[in-house]
Symmetry: C2
Subunit: 224 residues, 2 copies
């Protein structure tokens, strides 16, 4: 392996978007360091399997799995008006729904920048899109630009870490088309929020995926 190769940290959820991100980083000559976050979500094990299979496919050796289940504590805190105890009781309660985590992408970028700085990476790929799906404030390019300034000012002078958002203006159909062009193994990815054996076909994520393949005029091998 070329030791001069530039390293890119790629946030890899195991889904389609971030897998395309990894393919793009590789096509640009980066050595990819794959970072996978889990937060005790329902399909955690399935997504982790997808992450590893995709890394195996691309022969990605640098892998880091990070537990950010603190998202659950914060998510649930918005639903509880009672005083919060310091105990981990909140974590143990499976009754508390934890959907939206405010400012999640900032957390993700901060963690991945820390790793990028630790391993001397020069780029940070994140598969956010501001056109398709939910209109979260921290999915917009203007937010990423602001975070870039925070990185420039908050890391060591010799660190030069650039956030790269190659999918920012892509629809899911664009992602399918671009992935097909680059030979992305979409059949290894996992999108369903609900199931871990067979995609449910009805959750938001399954619906977005189905529409993307349909509009791109391509077949989703995972759904066959």
């Amino acid at each position: 392996m070329n030791k001069e190769k530039k390293i890119a940290v790629v946030l890899m959820s195991g889904g389609m978007d971030s897998t395309l991100c990894a393919a793009i980083a590789l096509s640009q000559g980066y050595e990819v360091a794959g970072m996978h976050l889990n937060y005790e979500q329902r399909t955690k094990a399935r997504e982790e399997r997808a992450f590893n299979e995709i890394c195996d496919f691309y022969k990605i050796k640098k892998r880091l799995l990070i537990d950010v289940s603190y998202f659950k504590q914060i998510g649930s805190s918005s639903l509880t008006e009672v005083d919060m105890q310091v105990s981990k009781a909140d974590l143990d309660s499976s009754a508390i729904p934890t959907s939206y985590v405010p400012f999640r992408n900032a957390n993700i970028l901060a963690i991945s920048t820390s790793w990028a700085e630790a391993i001397n990476a020069s780029a940070l790929f994140i598969g956010a899109s501001q056109v398709d799906g939910s209109n979260y404030p921290d999915c917009r390019q203007s937010f990423f630009d602001a975070f870039q300034s925070a990185i420039d000012l908050g890391t060591k002078p010799e660190s030069k870490i650039k956030i790269i958002t190659p999918l920012i203006n892509m629809t899911k159909a664009d992602i399918v088309r671009e992935g097909a062009k680059l030979g992305v193994p979409f059949e290894l990815t996992w999108s369903c929020y609900q199931n871990s054996d067979k995609p449910c076909g009805v959750c938001d994520s399954c619906a977005l995926r189905e529409r993307g393949f349909r509009l791109a005029g391509l077949e989703d091998l995972l759904a066959v």
Copy 2:
């Protein structure tokens, strides 16, 4: 309790600086929500005890303890690597000290902003100082300003969360003097990076604390 009271999330490590921050937030009329992070550092349990005792002292009810031991995975820090030596104090050095966790304050700000948004807080107090001791890039006001822009752009339009850094231009001696004025219970705080029973007296943090009290001409009850 007055329901109209504005809420401030205060990052409370259990040390002197963040305890002064809590006192300042309270003196400005905020209801304080105390957030404490641990990352499997050597003195974790002792710092957690300090956090709780300080919250008890100030009757702070909203408390959130977050495990960020992923810092340990990212590594490259003497605070988290058990087999790395904590460097001896060299207060005049302008080098970045070995206790540096890459981009740590960004992680901390991202987490606390998430909580602030979840509980409708309007302020976020962090006891960073850019004048005394450690030359962390993410302890400078310019970094906090950049992160403020990321917060403004990355949170919901109705969220107005302001980072407040009341200690940013204070030396440790200033902090001791201001704390004394506000009746801060410094004897409940913990600063030592090394020990949990009796301060070691030689680590960076102990040296800074000792110098602060000495220059302020006050007695550190913890050291007596």
